[in-house]
Amino acid sequence: MKKKAKALVVRTAGINCDIETKLALEKAGAVAELIHTNEITSGKTKILNYDILIFPGGFSYGDDIAGGKIWSVHIDKVYADVKKFIDSGRPVMGICNGFQVLTKLGFLPESKDKKQTASLTFNDSGVFIDKWVELKVNKNSPCIFTKNLNDIIELPIAHGEGKIVIDDKTVLEELKKNNYIPLTYVDNPNGSVLDIAGVCNKRGNCFGLMPHPERYASPLHHPSWTRPQMQKVKAAGLEFFKNAVEYLKD
């Protein structure tokens, strides 16, 4: 029997979605380890020894300065390893705070020379919001995490700084043209440009999103699961993690 995929869930002070992310990975058939950023930057843990890399959600370092800013400065110390990991085609996902980090380091949208082309800033409403939203899945996207999902899925969002802004029109055009926007909001909750909820790279193995797939790893997570119509609905969030595990098998 083939060995189980080994996932690294990076944590640090203020990260708070690490445990449920680990549980979702385990349910999807991977083994997962929670490792503190200090262990990675000190060289004690090598990112490249893993098969899947996840930057989970939370308020790293309190989101002081800006969401994910300080965490990205720490991760920048092992930038080369992250880059190698992505270039090797292994799955990388940044969720919420993790997406903010991938954006700050220029991994998403994918850019040359670490250039940051997008920013995740305060919601138009000005306040933190926790609610379930409908998301449209782009079937033509190369994203490996969103394969074989229904056209419309539901996931919860829980963020104060989830509005994606992209200044450079050509960057926006490229994202659109090449289907690097695997997920868009049906009813935009934060003011994101083009209703963008998630962005991937060209190869589709590096993906960042504001909604929380790990919070829909069980049908019980859905706010309406007690209703008769919901009895046969699959937990859409779990599929993201299953897709990553499946992809590694091929």
Binding site: E20, F59, E214, H221
Partner: protein, 796 residues
Amino acid sequence: MERKLKDFTSLSASALCALQGNCGWSLCEAEMLAAQKYFKTIGRAPTQAEMETVAQTWSEHCKHKTFNDPISFQNGNKKELIKEGLFKSTVYKATKKLNKKWCLSVFKDNAGVIEFGKDKKWALAFKAETHNHPCAVEPYGGAETGVGGVVRDILGVGLGAKPVVNTDIFCFAPPNYSKKLPPAALHPKRIINGVIDGVRDYGNRLGIPTAAGAVWYDDDFALNPLVFVGTIGIMPTWAVHKKVYPGDLVVAIGGRTGRDGLHGATFSSAVIEDASEVSAVQIGHAINEKKVLDAMMKLQAKKLYRAVTDCGAGGFSSAIGELGSECGVNIDLKKAILKESKIQPWEIWVSESQERMILCVPPKNLKAVEKILKAEDCEYAVLGKFTKTNKLEVYFGKDKIVDLDNYFLHGGVPKIVRRAIWQTPKLKASKLNLPAKKYGELLQKCLANLNACSREAIIRQYDHEVQGGTVVKPLQGIKHDGPGDASVIWPVSATGNQKDFNGFAVSHGINPEIGKSDPYQMALNCCDEAVRNLLCVGADINKTAFLDNFCWGSPENPKLMGALVLTAKGCYDGALAYGAPFISGKDSFYNQSKDAAGKDLPVPSTILISATAPVYDVRRAITMDLKEAGNDLYIVGLTKDELGRSTAAQILGIKDTFVPVVDAKSALAAYKKIYGAMQKGLIKTAHDLSQGGLAGALAEMAFSGGLGAEINLNALPCKGKLSDGQKLFSESASRIILEASPKDAAAISKALKGSVFVKIGKVSEGKKLVVKYGKKEIIAQDINKLKKSWQSTAVM
């Protein structure tokens, strides 16, 4: 360097009182004299640090004197002496009498601990705190540190539990409050927004879902809001008890110590005045607390310490003093990590700087502890060690600043007989007869009432789903916006076992309005509502555990004390009647200030009952939204002429009429039958009747499910002859509406046999709520319009 209070032992009683006033100690004359006597006996004057230690240890906040002192109670013409005090004769007595085997640690640690799940592997710890005084003067900071404090209580119970849910219950004046305020008071709107923001920013950053709560509005909370914050944690059973061993090291971890939060304990034990010390409010930093939480969970799993407690009110003085109260402890404050260099040694000792915990670490484990703390970026300092001297000894370098005997510090506070009086107000029957068309309008108004309307604007700001365990959410139904009765938590983030479906429900009962007419019934109604809410989500109410939080004005006011005695008696009777022990509790006094006219304005006397009960299989939990057209609707429980203090009564200006009187015995019998029916899978939906009575509850169920309902009042079980209005809007206790499939009608009748219940109608396809009496139509309202009314009121 320590200022000696040179003449302390020779001061007159009045000079002692003047001294304590200048120093902000909140001690009374008898207490100052007791302290003077001790120092006379040991033949020296106290240091300032010693008197600060005494003031903090003996404060109302830390010692709960009002609940422990004897009370002379005059109820109408009846006189009673409550010799052993309220705590021992009510809440604690009930718990002792009930003697539940599943109570693992009650009323002796930072939280109450009960069994959780199968195989006795896990335990559940629950604590609810108040942070009223700080929130009155600095709402944002006060609320933040309130959350931080109660979370640390859970980290500091036994050997520490993992927090899996936070609760928040607020009592505010309405946001559009327009009466004149005294110059220094903050407007209620500012308090509301500050408190909500504080709970949000701190709770969300800690990664603990804020998933259950309530908000109550009343003008008389204008000067003194009530902010209750609770936390439930899960811990392995082996971690339930702690023990301090002489020789173990005193290790302070987490935040640094500064001059913030000086005199917090004594500040909370007095009336807020203009000149109240704003430095008494601490400054919170959520990420420091998250570091402490993460580090503690790692240290706990490796069993590296043998006792722990949090630094709350009174800071090091309280935390270290308590841990060392049974053996002795020796501390050097020079080793503490500080925020600033100019701080005085006594200030280090009583500072309430946040995010600090004290661990008792065997010396051989110190290296391993240090390694984990460093890996988690968590600062720490070894302050000293536990001894066998039965003394509290505190040094600053070579200077000894505290040298007190434990017997005096922890047993020396004098008892005072308190006076309580109560005169029962006369209540009468109500009248409510409106033209049929007007009832729909009244229902709209009830739904829009501040104490009944949607709390979505607040709930959405809280991350109520982090940790992936909130399986019955505070907002329910087809559009995820209906008002749930209770939340159900599936604590997989603590157990790590996704195949174990054990969970628990958490709910509340609060109604200070009833207390204005009848404090005893307020307590019983709150107990009943908390239990009923648990039942409505499918929890096993045979294993309910209660928490009490009393918030009162000054205990020097005999009338307020009278209400307190009756409320405590209600708690006692409620606990016994529902078989639900109190496992933890807290009281907060002096919630009063002078209003703009210079008159004392105490808060409405308020009891909050928090409750939890197990849900053995969270996949069978139940919500309150109507599920399917064609299903039958049942009502369980008796409707009586009890409009007193109801939502409708307030809208219509009906005064001094009968308030709900709880018949707990028949209520519990019915609840047990409903639970039995739920276990058989017969119940699709359950919702309790509270604000707005029968009409309000039905409306909520209908618009949350996006379905209509049609009921007929002619079959409604009532006591005596009631008008349509009384039937629809009375807020009689212990009533529940159930939805079940028509094919289960016989099974339902069998399951509920012996209790008061009747089929009152059906769920319908159309989007209309229709209420009839015989053939007469009393209400016919579009559910979307009702929902709109319910959602239209601004709660902040």
